[in-house]
Amino acid sequence: CGFTPAYAPGGAGTALRGQVRAADPTDSLGFDFVAALEDRLGRPASPRFDLAYSVVTSERGSARVAGVGETRISVIGTVRYELTERATGDTVTSGSVRNFTNYSTTSTQLASLRAREDAERRLMRILADQVATRLIAAQAE
């Protein structure tokens, strides 16, 4: 039905595996994003590509309970990315992905804070998976 394995010899995945070096992270979100991306595309040994990215997150509250405040928070994240060929500096592909995760604040403030950090970590993994899939898709074009 026209599908070929991404990691078959000469496949789109094989061309990227261990070849993509994401830029050094400057904050905690970037750290989690790079870690998740390397789980997908492998640690860069002698990378052919550089991946520049910018991570922007925001929060939106909902389900306000009187006297308690907003009890369900969405963490919305957008990653703009650009893959360039290291040798020539040409842009191979670029774009942006957007997604969100949720956490609750009904329990103690300590639990809410750790739930928020966990939500940000999960968001970075979701966005990293989306970017990896988009890079493989672009490679397959």
Binding site: A6, G69, F100, Y103, A115, A137
Partner: protein, 689 residues
Amino acid sequence: QVDGPEQGFATLVADRLYLDGPHRLIAEGNVEALSGQTRMRATRIIYDRQSGALQIEGPLTLREGDRVLVLADAAEMHDGFRRGLIRSARVILDQQLQIAAHQVERVDDRFTQMNSVIASACEICEETQTPLWEVRASRVVHDQQEQQIYFENAQFRLFGLPVAYLPRLRVPDPGLDRATGWLSPRFSLDTGHGVGLRAPYFIAISHDKDLTLTPFLASKGSRALELRYRQAFATGMLELGGLVARDSIRPGSTRAMGYTRGEFVLGRGYELSFNLIKVSDRQLLEDYDRSEAQLASDITLERVRRDERIRLQALQFRSLRLVDNNRELPNQIGQAVYERRFDMPGLGGVAGLRFEVHSHSRRRPLAADVKSVARFSADLDWRRDAILPAGVVGTLGVNLGVDHFAISPGSTAFAKSTTRVVPTAMAELRWPLVRATSGGAVHVVEPVAQVIWGRDRVDALPNDISSMPELDEGNLFSHSRFAARDQREMGLRANLGLSWTRHDPQGWSGTLTLGRIWRKTDLGQFSPQSALAGRRSDWLLVSSLDTDQGLTLSNRALFNSDFRLTRNALELDWSTPDYSISTTYMHIRPDLAENRPAKAAEWSLDGSRALDEYWTASVNWRYDIARNRAARVGAGLTFENECLRMQMEVERRFASAITAGDTTSFGLSIDVLGVGGNPSRARRGCSGG
């Protein structure tokens, strides 16, 4: 920007130049004179050789750098444009503020004096058109060095009607963005304060320090003073602030709040940030709309490098919730985390080390709770993947978690000290398949099967932190779905997932993900209402769509085997040049373990539409589906042109269990643009003018 000769000399360019008598040199036709940064264009200039004076016949334009432009009928200049008289001139500062004056006198390099003046930043196309706002004054002095404009006998007119008369008025020049003075006032109307006025006064102490004092007066007797001091350092920024108030909401008592905030870059990549806040009473922040329902003071030292993250943090919480009693809550927290990722020598693959020291305590805990908990956690994990035949990606992983708890006082439920060792092993198979269609769209299908083995024994330990676990595609395949190491997920379980992605850079892109967890035995680690509970978790179904016309739609649903939703979250954002809509729908079942006694379901919408070039209307509401009634409705109208910005908002919050009646609040802010600090952007220019 051609600079003319230096002081005392001017370059003259014209169609014709001739001598009329021994000392009068006359230049005619497209005459242009350049001296220093000043460029003059006129139809005729008469130069008297003895006095060096220039008689200029207009219409003339005088341009000084790119900040000052003068259009006038005639002028007489001495000393190379530094001194002179210009008649019936229009002075335009920074392409924003226009001053029409009967006569403009250049006193010297610094001062320009104008009399019988009309000043406005509004574009005046025809002479008859009255600008939205204007200042009429008998005399105006523009100090170019200090970038200040002084008006004498100034009359402020709004829509042509005199609104205020000020014997003396000082306004910063548009080019100046930091000057001591009054900022735009804010009017507000709400049930708590009645009609209120905030008039911030900004004091630029020096280039790196400033202080803003904002008095707040309201018709129901509220008197408040807000204070914000900021200082910039080479390595960071410090902010101190506070609020002191006496009002009718809490009559007879002085209410106050103080905070400090700072960020500093220390050596070797470390960043120190702190955020301390103290409040006199719970309602203060809400009453003065500084919307922080929870107070969190923290001091954090952090360093992030490519493969290493270090964080030391001390936290002090104070809940403002009516239901909370702070003495019973774990509000004092300390934490130190060291994380490192590295390539595993010998075995290959990626290894991770993580050490954490955590402690939290309660001042007077309830019987069931523990007074203080200290925990040391160490994690070693290792994973290695390989490409198997037919492009299958096989991954093996091991995780060893060691946690030592010191609980005091010990109790029947929890031993004084407990050490827990949790080894887990993981095997995963991924098989990403790709299909590129002729139309340019690419499909990626990726089935994932993962098995994690962990032992079954669950130690009895206090669960103060990881009490609200979530399930989404971000942790479907992770070792433990708890937010902190005080809990670890146990037992043998299989995580299965299938995701399909369509990506078309020109067209639309979408993803669909399905996932579920199967457990060998239900160890009761999750509350029955949680999506993660039971031998089989809820189904996870995630769909997202984004088009290149600015639409992004994503929905995440968790439902059990008979298709009843436990949790759902939908976000839709659609923005085009002239309107933007963002709407969300959320639904979450009650879960006492998460301290959520009632179901919550809400639909919210925020929309804004540009009615025309100047007017933008916005509307927002929140509909509480669980109680089947509107929770909040708001509307806003904004007018902005090159010289005036007006924002009006009205919001109505409907009664809920605790707050008695409905509350309505109205906000109006008027910003005069084109003067210092409020640059105007939308400069349209006269059409066909």
